[in-house]
């Protein structure tokens, strides 16, 4: 063949976009001055841009993606169920009292087991502009859950609460979000554990404490059972956080300027009693008692007379049924009740 003068490698590089700017300039100059070379390059360009003739297959991009999504969503669901499974065995280990309770609340508990919601949420963290996949555990009224996290920490979620935690903690911190009430047993780790509970930010390295942050309550309360915890309002800077030790309680008034009220030597039994199925009311208005009972037992409580709401109750219950609780209220406040299914009317 008589094509010794044609640098095919160079033309190929030119077409493939592999030439340096100088080389491109050289080729384009040559094309301007050499019409034969120019035609050949143009012919190759035509060959180059004539595309996709070997088949006209209609690849199913959406369909394949659906399969992938289903599979990877399924994968995360399975790991969460695995992760959460021990909680039922843990609660069963309570022995005879546990069994008694189990029978009493079998129905409620079964509903808890069956309806606990595991969903994956996309949550955009506005500060970091990045997306994390959070798992969500929701306890309905009358339900509880124990969540064992990967780092060895254990969180016991009271009824009517929600915990959001990442599929996997990142390397710098362990961050979870709480709505409602939970008791945290945090495994020691060099990464701080951060609980965001409504307006409160709680930072720990490894300890045990209770957070009480139900939306319908004025106060958010953090009680420390073991170790040290730092608490601040999300409006306050890091320097304004309060350090709590064993037996200390921080109270944050919702909507305040971030002022923390620290009480020392609180009654731990009272504040952590919910885990032993103890209900403690200390001069609490009936309206608040009712909302606790609604959450605790999954009932609806109505007042026939609004004046009843402000009456206060002082009583302790341990492992009591809703009937027992209502009977005590009847005697203590001198009211009567009517029960239809899950609806209780006080009059």
């Amino acid at each position: 063949m008589h094509n010794n003068n044609l640098d095919y490698n160079q033309i190929a590089r030119y077409l493939a976009g592999e030439c340096s700017p100088e080389e491109v300039r050289k080729i384009e100059t040559k094309m301007k001055t050499d019409s034969g070379f120019s035609r050949i390059v143009k012919e190759f360009e035509k060959i180059w841009i004539t595309k996709n003739l070997d088949h006209g297959i209609d690849w199913d991009m959406e369909g394949v993606w659906c399969n992938i999504r289903e599979e990877i969503d399924e994968e995360s669901r399975i790991t969460h169920i695995k992760k959460l499974k021990p909680r039922y065995t843990n609660d069963n280990r309570r022995g005879s009292t546990g069994m008694k309770w189990m029978i009493r609340f079998a129905a409620v508990f079964l509903i808890a087991a069956l309806t606990s919601l595991f969903t994956i949420l996309y949550m955009v963290e506005p500060e970091q502009e990045e997306m994390k996949i959070f798992s969500e555990v929701v306890t309905e009224r009358g339900q509880r859950a124990t969540i064992n996290l990967d780092d060895g920490s254990r969180i016991r979620l009271n009824s009517g609460s929600k915990l959001l935690y990442p599929e996997e903690f990142d390397s710098e911190q362990r961050y979870v979000q709480l709505y409602g009430e939970a008791y945290f047993e945090i495994a020691g780790d060099e990464r701080p554990f951060i609980v965001k509970a409504d307006e409160a930010v709680i930072e720990i390295l490894g300890t045990e404490f209770n957070v009480y942050a139900y939306e319908d309550r004025e106060d958010i309360k953090v009680v420390v059972a073991e170790g040290m915890v730092s608490v601040r309002s999300d409006r306050a800077s890091y320097e304004h956080s309060a350090s709590l030790g064993k037996g200390d309680m921080a109270t944050l008034k919702r909507g305040s300027e971030g002022d923390l009220n620290v009480t020392q030597n609180v009654n731990l039994r009272r504040h952590l009693g919910w885990m032993q199925y103890r209900l403690n009311f200390d001069n609490i208005p009936l309206s608040q008692v009712a909302s606790t009972l609604q959450r605790w037992y999954g009932v609806d409580i109505e007042f026939e007379n609004d004046q009843l709401r402000d009456k206060t109750l002082t009583a302790d219950f341990e492992d009591a049924t809703i009937h027992e609780v209502i009977r005590v209220i009847e005697i203590a406040i001198n009211v009567e009740h009517e029960m239809k299914g899950r609806k209780i009317t006080l009059k």
């Binding site: 590089r13 959406e62 990045e130």
Partner: protein
């Protein structure tokens, strides 16, 4: 079921506007939308590429699906040495060849990948052309299909898949120099073939010779 709309996933990713070099990191961290973005960018290319080895739409789609599932399941350790693109193409090449091996239908095709045999496979199937297509396009297509297999593969990876020479070298496990030589030879062969098919090109060719 279209609840996991790809468009939606990719759109969420666009809102966050990643720099390309962060996308691998995002996937490592479990970001499904960044993952969707990679999928969308390469799905068609990978299917077409796999189809060059395996002439079955269902198998090709399955191989691509398996590859993406594999990446996701191993995302924490996912750290492609070259570009994401060359990683994907190399993986799908290996998966396609494995498939052929396992199916025991491995013909000389895979062997030819490594050997420099000037051997052409022009079959009726390769030439599914329509009468309406213009003569030049037909000829170009035929000429490309007539290239030796490894050359054809390299040529298509550059022209159709838009891979850089470096990426092609990574995928095919050859040197960049070899890619360059193969590309040049492909052009030369194409030109020789096309000169037979197109009087116009032959004319140009001789005209060019006269000019020298």
């Amino acid at each position: 079921m279209q609840s996991h709309s790809l468009k939606k996933d990719v759109m969420v990713n666009h809102k966050k506007n990643f720099f390309p070099d962060q996308i691998v990191e995002k996937v490592q961290q479990g970001d499904k939308c960044a993952f969707a973005e990679i999928y969308q960018a390469h799905f068609y290319g990978l299917c077409d590429f796999s189809y060059r080895y395996i002439k079955s739409q269902a198998v090709c789609e399955e191989l691509v699906q398996d590859l993406f599932l594999y990446i996701w399941q191993n995302r924490r350790e996912w750290n492609p040495s070259g570009t994401v693109k060359s990683y994907l193409y190399k993986s799908i090449k290996n998966r396609s060849l494995d498939y052929l091996k396992h199916k025991r239908v491995q013909n000389e095709f895979a062997n030819q990948q490594r050997e420099e045999i000037e051997y052409t496979t022009v079959t009726q199937d390769n030439l599914r052309l329509h009468k309406s297509e213009d003569q030049l396009i037909k000829s170009i297509h035929l000429a490309i299909e007539s290239l030796p297999d490894q050359r054809k593969m390299i040529f298509k990876m550059s022209r159709e898949d838009g891979l850089t020479y470096r990426e092609i070298a990574e995928v095919m496990e050859i040197s960049v120099k070899t890619v360059e030589t193969q590309m040049g030879r492909s052009l030369k062969t194409l030109r020789e073939h096309l000169s037979k098919y197109i009087p116009g090109l032959a004319f140009l060719y001789s005209h060019f010779q006269n000019l020298i």
